[in-house]
Structures are given as structure tokens and as C-alpha cells.
């Protein structure tokens, strides 16, 4: 396959950069593979880093401004490290009708977190999703990647308590934008 690669060394000697290199190689380092590469990076590291974006920009011969533009345009990409556990409350139409807002309020009551925030100890991130497509089970939430349906304020509080462990007054680390 024709390759467009520009050889630069990765931002660190972390072995995981080989995974990102693999995706770039599979696409012949073509500029149009940018989003696929960013997906791989987020899957591998959990979030996108500035170093990583610069590395990808150089390797694919895409301007850094464009890479940054793409990374920040799409809601799925995040440049903030997520907490150890994540709780995503679906705010799609069906879930909205069935009280997604009261679920968010319940999580806030339990953990002090607002949507987009992570506890100071990094144990939990609270996020919202536009729709996880589990409308038949509304209201739905995703705990550590597992979709759960027919959530009640009690059940979500229980899950949040489990995630937070014994720390009752988890503090808030980063105030992020509402996704």
C-alpha cells in the first residue's frame, strides 16, 4: 500500500504508541484516517493528549490546527482523563420524558458531581449522553460501559455509592463542559 508516513518518534517510550502506529499503518498514513486514529488513541489511553495530537498531526502530515479542530468538534472525543469509574446518564428524548433530570439530581446529591465533572480522587466521572439507543429501557444509564435500564433514583444512588467506595465527601476536581 502507498504510504504517506512521515517518520517521527512517539511522544514517550510508552509501548501503547505502537497500537496507534498500527492504526496509522493500516490506513497507509492517509490524512483521511485521522478520526480512526483518534478513536484508537482514545480507546488506548482513555483520552486524547496534546502530545498525542501533535504526534498524529506530524505522522499523517495534517496541520495540527486541523487535528485539534477535529478532536474538539466531536463530542465523543475528550481531552480530560476520565475517572476510574464512569456513570453516563442518557438524556435522550425517551429518558428525558421519563425523568433523566431527576437521575442527574440524584447523582449530584450523592456525589456532589455535576455532568462533566470528576471527583478529586479520580474515582468517578459523571457524564451525559445524547442517546444511548436504549429507549425501550428508559430511563437508562451506562455504568463503566455497561448499559442499565429502568433506572430509579435509588438504584443510581446505590451504584454511585459503590463507585465512590467509603469516601463520603468526594471533592470535585475538574469542572468541564456539559457534553
Amino acid at each position: 500500500m502507498l504510504t504517506n508516513a512521515k517518520v517521527v518518534s512517539p511522544p514517550s517510550d510508552d509501548k501503547r504508541w505502537k497500537i496507534i502506529d498500527g492504526t496509522m499503518r493500516r490506513h497507509g498514513h492517509q490524512p483521511h484516517s485521522l478520526i480512526e486514529v483518534l478513536h484508537t488513541m482514545q480507546e488506548t489511553f482513555g483520552f486524547l493528549t496534546d502530545d498525542g495530537l501533535r504526534y498524529v498531526a506530524t505522522s499523517l502530515r495534517v496541520p495540527y490546527s486541523k487535528v485539534y479542530g477535529v478532536a474538539t468538534f466531536y463530542h465523543f472525543f475528550t481531552m480530560k482523563p476520565p475517572g476510574k469509574h464512569t456513570c453516563v446518564v442518557c438524556t435522550g428524548t425517551a429518558c428525558h420524558i421519563k425523568g433523566a433530570n431527576t437521575l442527574l439530581a440524584a447523582v449530584q446529591e450523592e456525589s456532589g458531581l455535576k455532568a462533566g465533572e470528576t471527583t478529586r480522587d479520580g474515582s468517578l466521572s459523571l457524564l451525559t449522553a445524547r442517546c444511548v439507543g436504549s429507549c425501550g429501557l428508559a430511563p437508562a444509564a451506562v455504568f463503566d460501559g455497561q448499559v442499565a435500564g429502568k433506572i430509579t433514583t435509588d438504584s443510581i444512588k446505590r451504584r454511585v455509592r459503590d463507585f465512590l467506595g467509603n469516601e463520603t465527601d468526594a471533592e470535585i476536581l475538574s469542572v468541564g463542559e456539559h457534553q
Binding site: 492517509q30 490524512p31 483521511h32 484516517s33 485521522l34 478520526i35 480512526e36 483518534l38 478513536h39 495534517v62 486541523k66 479542530g69 477535529v70 468538534f73 466531536y74 463530542h75 465523543f76 472525543f77 438524556t91 435522550g92 428524548t93 425517551a94 428525558h96 420524558i97 421519563k98 449522553a129 445524547r130 442517546c131 444511548v132 439507543g133 436504549s134 429507549c135 425501550g136 429501557l137 428508559a138 437508562a140 455497561q146 448499559v147 442499565a148 435500564g149 429502568k150 456539559h178
Partner: protein, 554 residues
């Protein structure tokens, strides 16, 4: 592989399955999986083994059975016996019921003759809940890839296009553009490189039809795309799928791999000169990428911003080549149309809207889940017959179709037929198939605000009317819901809806005012209650009680 090999696989698979007296089907689509249907399946398998029934009893994972809210679902004896909310502990009782015909506990039995099941007409979903989505053999046994082989060995590309035109199929992504016309345009667009794109970026909140089709019957979509490729002269296809649907992506990857290794995709398909390859591209959570030019920009690796049309993608699309873009459900309709003829398809539905439509029925309705109904059915039948009406004896208020681009249809229009033109005549759209039912506990101002909030944050920002207009409308709606608005605000809101609709670049902005427009039209009393009395009739918003006091305070 040639046609004989295909027929052999079909015969063998059918024979294999007919050896079993009982086939127990467990739903393994995302809805039921999130309720642990995989554990139910494992438990059933080990129970079968324990009883030494392996030779007469087969446990099989299948796609979506439709009634998602009652999952995990299990079915046996050709769907005569169906079970809901099944836990691993119920496995033994279910085996007793299926194998020994003993009565099962009442709380897990569902009546398989419910209107929800019998009121449907399945074309797109014919294999959902029947075949194992992870086995290509199962799809082949259900006449899979027969249509593709028929096309490449017996029909000329133009003949395929003619069948699609004759069927009267219209785009299932929402706008309802005639599919045959789109195919004809790409077919006629020269002989150079062309592409086929499947739009699986189901961003409409409240819709999960495409996800379900991809998870339950992925090969159907691949076959539809390959037929399209043959018809329009493309050798490469892309599926642009939401990254939020990991199971759908996984099943698609499996399906593509299987199809390639069986020679159903790749070079020289069916020992002919037809080549067709499919690649998956992941979306990254941008609603606007459902718009075709934005989707193309995203596949090209850039920000998903639309561009003015013309030129339409059919003339100049992906990498400036003629490109055919259809939605998942549109492609899923293609194999049956080819197998049974365009004429057959055109006998279903209404004069201008042919065939069936899959809807994701959710919200305040008893039976939530996925249904496929013939076009022309009334909203009342869908909600009150198939959907079983409103739970807890509450009153119906409105049904929202088409998501952020659609409108809220009030009770007086429940008897209109569901087709593209009738829904448009009452201010809504068919949309991709999300259908959210609302009762008296929903506030229509809040609903309008919800959708405007969505459009505001999903606006790509390229054109001013959409970027600024949606924000301004959202601000006004927020003031109304908080009881801080004046009559003037209402006038301005009406003016803005017209402006944004007329001046926006793409479909997102052009349709963003629809939820607001329809609620203004049908539920003005609720707006007035917020503005004039500082009261939210549904008790959702918390408007400032004493309006005058608030104005003095401000």
C-alpha cells in the same frame, strides 16, 4: 462461491436446525443484553446439557424480538411460547414449559398473540429475532445473499435500478427522497470511481431502529449495499456507524469478515467480474453528521460540517466522486425488493409512501420497543393498539416523531395515516422512526426547550442562522419555562422560527424550529400559562410564581 454453493449452505443449515425438536431463542441484542440475557442463555444451555437434551433441544442467540422493555426475552416453539423478564433462575421452568409443555410461572409468560406482535408486518425485521446475527449460514438459510446473486448473474445494473424505482421505496433516513431516483442519478454519473455509503449515524435521540437492524441482521445491510454497488457501478462501500453502538460495530465487523471469507464480498463475487468491498468508519458523536455532506466530510477525516448542495453527493460526493448515500433501513429493504420484485413492494403502503416503516416506540406507552408497520396505519393504532395505550390510566397528550427535526402531534390528529405527506401536513416529519409518546405529565414548553437545547449544541456553527438562531430561540424558551418571558418574547420566538427555517444551510437548521413550531401551534395554552400566569400545567418547569415580583426583582 457460486449460486450452487450458496444453495448448499442454505439446505445444510436448514437440515441441521430441523434435527432439533425444540429451538429456544434468546434475544442477544443490546436491550436484552443490558438486562443480562447472556447469562440467561448460558443457564439455559447448561440446563439443556444437564438434562441430556442436547440432541433435541437447541439454544440459540437471536436478534431483537421487539418488546425491549420486557427483556430479556426468550421464545420457543416457533414463537408460540414467549417469555419476558427472564432471569437465569427461570431457565428450568422455561425448559419445562417448552419441552414438557408444563405451565410456566405467570410473571414470565407473555401472550404471543398480543396486538404488539400480530399487528406488525415484517419486511426489514423479518430475520430479527429469528436468526443468529453472528452466523452468516443462518442468514443464507433465510434466503440471504440470494438477491445479490440474482442481480449479478441475471440482471443488468439498469434492471436492478428499475426494480428499486418500481418499488416506490423512499429514503428511510427521514426526508423520504425517492430511492430509485437517487440510484438512477448515480448510475448515470459516468463510469469513473463511485462509492456507496450506508448512513448508520443514528443521532436522533429516541430512535434505535438502525442499531437494532445492525445488531440483529447485519448481513442484510451488507447485501443491500452490495446490490447498490452493482446497480450504480461502485466497487467500494463505507458504513458510517456511531461509535456509541459498540455491539452493532462488532457484529458488522464479524459480518464483513464472514462475507469476505465466503466470497460474498471482495473480488469476483459469485465468480463474476463484480468486486465490492466494505469498510466501517466510526462516527464520533456529532448529530450533524447524519446530514449527507457532513457525513462525507467526516469520512474524509475532517470536521463534520455540511456544504451547500448542489452539487449533490450523487454527482460529486466522497473525494468528489459520485456517491450513493442511503440509510440502514433503506438498504435493509433492498434484498426483499429484489427477491420478490418491485411490484410486490409497491402493493404495500399508501399511494405515495410504499412499504413498511420501522418505529422505535418509547416514552409514556405500555409496550415500548421496536415495531414494523405498513405505511398508512394510523398513529392511534400504533399507540393504542400495538403500544397498548398510556400506562397508569393517564391521558395522552402528544406524540413526537422525527426527533429534533420533527414535531409534536396532538390528539386531534391521531387518526391521520402515517406516511411522509400526512405527517408533514400537520407540521411533523416521518423522520428516521423515533416515536415518543407523551402524556399529561410532560410539559410541551419543556419538550420544545429540550429539543432546542439539542439543536443548539449540535449546530456545527458554520452558518449564522442556525448557530445564532437556535441559541436565541433556546434563550427565549428558557425564559418562558422560568416564567420570565413577556408577550414580546413569544412574538420574537415565532419570527425566529421562520427565519432559521428559511435561511439555514442544512437540514439541521432548516428543521430545528419544528418542535417549537408545532408546540406553539397546538399547545399555545401551555405557553400562555407559563407567560401570563407563571404556571406550568404539567408541573415540570418551575416558573417564578409571582410574575410581577420577578419583574421588579429583575
Amino acid at each position: 462461491m457460486n449460486q450452487d454453493d450458496l444453495a448448499n449452505i442454505a439446505v445444510q443449515t436448514k437440515q441441521e436446525e430441523s434435527r432439533y425438536d425444540h429451538v429456544i431463542k434468546v434475544c442477544v441484542a443490546a436491550g436484552c443484553l443490558s438486562a443480562n440475557s447472556d447469562q440467561v442463555k448460558t443457564q439455559l444451555e447448561s440446563e439443556v446439557k444437564q438434562r441430556g437434551l442436547e440432541s433435541c433441544c437447541k439454544v440459540k442467540g437471536v436478534g431483537c424480538m421487539g418488546l425491549c422493555a420486557a427483556g430479556p426475552l426468550v421464545a420457543g416453539e416457533g414463537n408460540e411460547k414467549m417469555f419476558q423478564n427472564v432471569t437465569p433462575a427461570d431457565a428450568s421452568a422455561i425448559l419445562d414449559s417448552i419441552v414438557d409443555n408444563k405451565p410456566a410461572p405467570e410473571n414470565v409468560v407473555i401472550d404471543s398473540h398480543l396486538d404488539f406482535f400480530t399487528g406488525q408486518k415484517k419486511i426489514v425485521l423479518e430475520n430479527s429475532g429469528e436468526i443468529d446475527p453472528e452466523r452468516v449460514e443462518d442468514y443464507i438459510a433465510a434466503d440471504g445473499y440470494e438477491a445479490l446473486f440474482h442481480c449479478i448473474t441475471k440482471l443488468k445494473p439498469l434492471g436492478v435500478v428499475e426494480q428499486v424505482t418500481k418499488s416506490g421505496l423512499r429514503g428511510r433516513g427521514g426526508a423520504g427522497f425517492p430511492t430509485g431516483l437517487k440510484w438512477t442519478t448515480v448510475y448515470k454519473a459516468g463510469t469513473g470511481q463511485k462509492y456507496v455509503i450506508c448512513n448508520a449515524d443514528e443521532g436522533d435521540p429516541g430512535a434505535f431502529m438502525d442499531r437494532s437492524v445492525l445488531e440483529s441482521d447485519p448481513h442484510r445491510v451488507l447485501e443491500g449495499m452490495a446490490i447498490a454497488g452493482y446497480a450504480v457501478g461502485a466497487n467500494k462501500g463505507f458504513i458510517y456507524c456511531r461509535a456509541e453502538y459498540p455491539l452493532a460495530v462488532k457484529r458488522l465487523r464479524t459480518a464483513i469478515r464472514q462475507a469476505e471469507s465466503h466470497g460474498l464480498l471482495g473480488n469476483n463475487i459469485g465468480e463474476t467480474h463484480f468486486d465490492f468491498k466494505i469498510e466501517i468508519r466510526l462516527g464520533a458523536g456529532a448529530f450533524v453528521c447524519g446530514e449527507e455532506t457532513a457525513l462525507i466530510a467526516s469520512i474524509e477525516g475532517g470536521r463534520g460540517t455540511p456544504r451547500p448542495r448542489p452539487p449533490f453527493p450523487a454527482q460529486s460526493g466522497l473525494w468528489d466522486c459520485p456517491t450513493l448515500i442511503n440509510n440502514v433501513e433503506t438498504f435493509a429493504n433492498i434484498p426483499p425488493i429484489i427477491r420478490r420484485g418491485g411490484e410486490w413492494y409497491s402493493t404495500i403502503g399508501t399511494e405515495k409512501s410504499k412499504g413498511t416503516k420501522v418505529f422505535a416506540l418509547a416514552g409514556r406507552v405500555v409496550n415500548t420497543g421496536l415495531i414494523e408497520v405498513p405505511m398508512g396505519i394510523t398513529l392511534r393504532e400504533i399507540i393504542f393498539k400495538l403500544g397498548g395505550g398510556i400506562p397508569e390510566g393517564r391521558r395522552f397528550k402528544a406524540v413526537q416523531s422525527g426527533g429534533p427535526s420533527g414535531g409534536c402531534v396532538p390528539e386531534q390528529y391521531l387518526d391521520i395515516p402515517v406516511d411522509y405527506d400526512s405527517l408533514a401536513s400537520v407540521g411533523s416529519i416521518m423522520g428516521s422512526g423515533g416515536m415518543i409518546v407523551m402524556d399529561e405529565t410532560s410539559c410541551m414548553v419543556d419538550v420544545a426547550k429540550f429539543f432546542m437545547d439539542f439543536c443548539m449544541s449540535e449546530s456545527c456553527g458554520k452558518c449564522v442562522p442556525c448557530r445564532v438562531g437556535t441559541t436565541q430561540m433556546h434563550n427565549i424558551l428558557e425564559r418562558i419555562s422560568e416564567g420570565r418571558a413577556t408577550q414580546n418574547d413569544l412574538e420574537q420566538l415565532k419570527e425566529l422560527t421562520g427565519m432559521v427555517k428559511a435561511a439555514s444551510l442544512c437540514g439541521l437548521g432548516q428543521t430545528a424550529p419544528n418542535p417549537t413550531l408545532t408546540t406553539l401551534r397546538y399547545f399555545m395554552d401551555e405557553y400562555k400559562a407559563h407567560i401570563e400566569e407563571g404556571r406550568c400545567p404539567a408541573g415540570i418547569c418551575h416558573p417564578v410564581k409571582d410574575k410581577e415580583e420577578a419583574e421588579v426583582g429583575a
